[in-house]
Every structure is written in C-alpha cells, then in structure tokens.
C-alpha cells in the first residue's frame, strides 16, 4: 500500500465531485435543509425535535455516503476503469482507502454544516458540545462509505445498487434505538441490534446529549463504529478481484 497512491485516489474522487456541482450541493445542503424542515414540522414539540435532530445527524451521513459510494464503485466496475487499475502496480487497499478518505472528508463537511444548523441555529442542547457530535457524524459517514463499497459487490446494475439501501440501511435505522428504546425490543431483536453498527452511532449521540464529559461508553461506541467500518472495508477489498 502506498500513501501517495491512496491520497491521489482520494484527490481524484474529490475532483470528480468538484466537476459535478449539483451532487455536491445535494450532499452538502440537503441534510441541513431537512433538519430545518423538521424544526418547523415539530414547532410545538421542541423536546422531540431536540432528540430527533441529533439522531438525524447520525443517519444522514450514513445513508448519503452509502448511496454515493455504492454507485461510484459500481461505475468503476462497469466502465473498465477498475479493470485498468487492477492491471497497474497499485494495492486494492489504495483504491478502497482512497474512496474512504475522500467520502469521509465530504461527510465531515456535510456534518459541519448540519451540526452548525442544529446546534448553532436551532440551539439544540447537548451537554457534550459540538466536537463529539462531529466525531459521530464523520464516523457515520465513514461507515456509510465502507458499507457502500461492500454492498456494491452484490449489485450489477444501478437499480440494484440503489435498492441495497433497503436491506442494508433501513433495518439498522429501525433497530438502532432512536425511535423505540432498545430495552423494549424482544430478546432476539435486541441481539440483532447489538451487532448492527448504526446502533453504536446512535448510542454515541445519546451519550453526547446526556453527559457533559467524554464518557468511556462514548469511546467504546465510536471505536465500535470505526471497527465495523474497517471490517466492511476489508471484506469489501476481498470482493474486488485482481483476477476474475
């Protein structure tokens, strides 16, 4: 693996986005606009908004980066560019981490904006402050990128790639404990939610709301999300074959 090749790949992926301003605007602004929408939908229920907006800060980066990455990787597979790269002296990890770094940076920008809207503009209270919120959002973006890379291997068309959000992301949203407390789940569902990465993002967000210090639970949660992401990247790298 070479740092030069990894970062050059990240730079290339970001340049592609730079030439696609519409996608860039959608990725950067839409989460903030949705949070603003939510603010006025829940105008009379301030407490509900405070809770849900923070949960959204964990879910938006996951879903958007998941979609972008799975389409981008599928395009590499389909247009012959991956074929070409795999005959060149690069490591598969250069390719994969190149994507992960690029989209995590994009996720960071998105999260900065959305966090500013949530915490600054709408004064949603968090005892833990803005930094842990950003950390959770960036790790969620990284996780989305990793899962997108992995699941794109199971899709052979764009239609399939987009549909992957249903089996891979929606169950995580339902089971993460954001809308229904996990304690009320039947045992089996509780177990399942224990092994789903988004559960840890959302738990981390809830820690930030409750606690004014950086708790060890928060660290554990963040490490769990990071671990799931790295694992998904490694399994994803196995789905990219030098030889077919």
């Amino acid at each position: 693996m070479s740092l030069l090749k990894t970062f050059t790949t990240s730079k290339r992926v970001l340049s592609q986005l730079r030439h696609d301003p519409r996608t860039l605007v959608l990725v950067l602004l839409v989460p903030s606009l949705l949070i603003a929408l939510l603010r006025y939908v829940l105008d009379g229920e301030r407490h509900t908004f405070d809770t849900i907006s923070l949960v959204m800060l964990g879910i938006f980066p996951l879903t958007m980066m998941f979609l972008i990455t799975s389409i981008a990787t599928l395009r590499e597979r389909k247009t012959g560019t991956l074929d070409r790269l795999m005959t060149m002296p690069i490591s598969k990890l250069d390719f994969i981490f190149g994507y992960a770094v690029a989209f995590s940076l994009l996720g960071l920008l998105q999260a900065c904006l959305a966090s500013w809207v949530t915490l600054g503009l709408f004064d949603v209270p968090t005892k833990g402050g803005a930094w842990p919120v950003l950390a959770v959002a960036v790790l969620s973006a990284f996780l989305g990128t990793a899962l997108g890379l992995l699941t794109s291997a199971f899709a052979s068309t764009e239609f399939q790639a987009v549909q992957m959000i249903m089996p891979f992301i929606f169950p995580q949203v339902l089971l993460c404990g954001a809308f229904v407390p996990r304690d009320s789940f039947p045992t089996l569902l509780h177990w399942i939610s224990d092994i789903l990465p988004l559960t840890y993002s959302i738990d981390a967000m809830q820690q930030v709301v409750k606690s004014s210090t950086w708790t060890s639970d928060l660290t554990t949660d963040l490490l769990a999300v990071l671990g799931f992401g790295v694992a998904a990247l490694i399994v994803g790298s196995l789905t990219i074959k030098r030889q077919e």
Partner: protein
C-alpha cells in the same frame, strides 16, 4: 525468429459453463505488432484479459516475459486498454492522465512531462483541460489510448483501439504502433476489421474460442492460397466445417 514475449500453453477459459477459450497454445514474438483477429464474441477479449492477468485461466498457463501473467512485477511493464472507454468521464483529460500516471508508478516530478508527451502522441494537447464527457467518441478513444502509453510499457494490450476513428487518425495511429514496435514494444491489437490485419507482423485468427491459424499475413495467404487475410479467414472457417 524474434525472442518470444508471451508464451501460451494449452490455455482454456470456461466462464459460467461456457468455453470462452479452448486449449490455445502459441508463442508470441517480442517487438512486433500482433493482431488478434476474429468476429465479436470469438474470444479475443478473453485472451487479452488472460494476458494482462485480469482473467483467470481455467487450464494451462500464460507467461509474459518469463513470468506468470498478472504477477506483480509485470504490472509495471504491461498496459491494457479495454474495449470500453476506461477513463473517468467526469474528470478532465489532464486529470485522468495525471491520475493514471501516478497509479502506474510515474514519480510525481515526472508526471507533467509524461502527460504532455502522451497527449502530444495522440494529438490531444489542445483538449487537456476539457472534461472527457464533453469529448467526441473518437477523442475519448484517444484519451484511453494515451493512458495505455503512460510509462513506456514493454507490452501494450489494446482492445479495438481504432474502432470509430476516422481514416486519417487510424492511419496515424498505425504509424505510431509501427514506431513503438520498432523501438521494441510488443503490441497486441484486436480488431474485427480485416484490412487492419494486413498491417500486423503476426496474426492470430480466433473463432469460437479456438485458434484457427497463427502466422504473418503473408504466411496465412500462402498457406490458404488466397489474396487477402479476409479470404484466408473465410477459407479456414470453411475448411473447418
């Protein structure tokens, strides 16, 4: 007899139960233009992918410059231009070439010179700042070829590099291929256009995954008592029936 660059021994490829290549054995010479000729679906692309190491060989072996096809040391010596326009449409020509040059291992200080050189060769210097998606089909094809020229590879595997190009440009590219071969580069070029076959040094006629014949255009014409490669191809297909 020139030194052999590629040695293919009893190579067969089966993809999902379909025999894409059937027991191919052939030695290919170094520093020559080798044409893979045959109708589409004949197995030309599969054989090329086998040579660059992208396609797993089910049986037999392919060695390139004495090493197993696709082995790591070969990745700096072999370039591959796929049949698709395998460059990024949402990057400029310049950005594409710089990126692939870095991936091919060109040192950062030499990138801009390398990019300029290959752009000059394919006559696309004036389009360096353009997005690939905005180029015409033939121009995209030339960008893709420029990527294959990066780093002066010893073996260039080009899948239908001249499809869709105007006659003048095709002529210029064949001159380029000839110059490269004279400098020692081995070129493998697939085509289903028979008049291009006449310009190769060495030909493999491929049909239904089988190697019908191998030899120079002259050899093939003499062997089949015909006046052109096209006729010898037809004669060979006819004699198989």
């Amino acid at each position: 007899m020139p030194h052999s660059a590629i040695s293919i021994k009893n190579a067969s490829v089966t993809i999902g139960g379909f025999a894409a290549l059937k027991n191919i054995t052939v030695d290919l010479p170094q520093g020559q233009i080798i044409g893979f000729i045959g109708p589409s679906g004949a197995g030309k692309t599969t054989l090329m992918r086998g040579i660059v190491g992208r396609q797993k060989i089910s049986e037999g072996s392919i060695t390139v410059f004495g090493q197993a096809a696709g082995s790591p040391p070969l990745r700096e010596k072999v370039s591959y231009m796929t049949q698709e326009i395998s460059v990024y449409p949402d990057l400029t020509v310049q950005e594409n070439l710089s990126y692939f040059a870095t991936m091919f291992g060109v040192s950062p200080s030499a990138i801009s010179k390398t990019v300029e050189e290959v752009l000059a060769i394919v006559q696309m210097k004036d389009k360096a700042g353009q997005l690939v998606s905005k180029l015409s089909g033939g121009q995209k094809q030339r960008v893709s070829l420029a990527v294959a020229l990066i780093g002066k590879p010893l073996l260039m595997v080009l899948d239908e590099p001249t499809v869709g190009l105007d006659p003048l440009l095709r002529e210029q590219l064949w001159q380029l291929f000839r110059e490269l071969a004279e400098k020692g580069t081995t070129l493998i070029i697939s085509s289903h256009v028979m008049d291009e076959a006449e310009r190769c040094d060495d030909l493999l006629l491929i049909r239904d995954g089988e190697l019908l014949a191998h030899g120079s255009p002259h050899d093939l014409r003499v062997k089949t008592h015909t006046a052109s490669v096209e006729q010898s191809f037809l004669a060979l297909v006819g004699s198989k029936r």
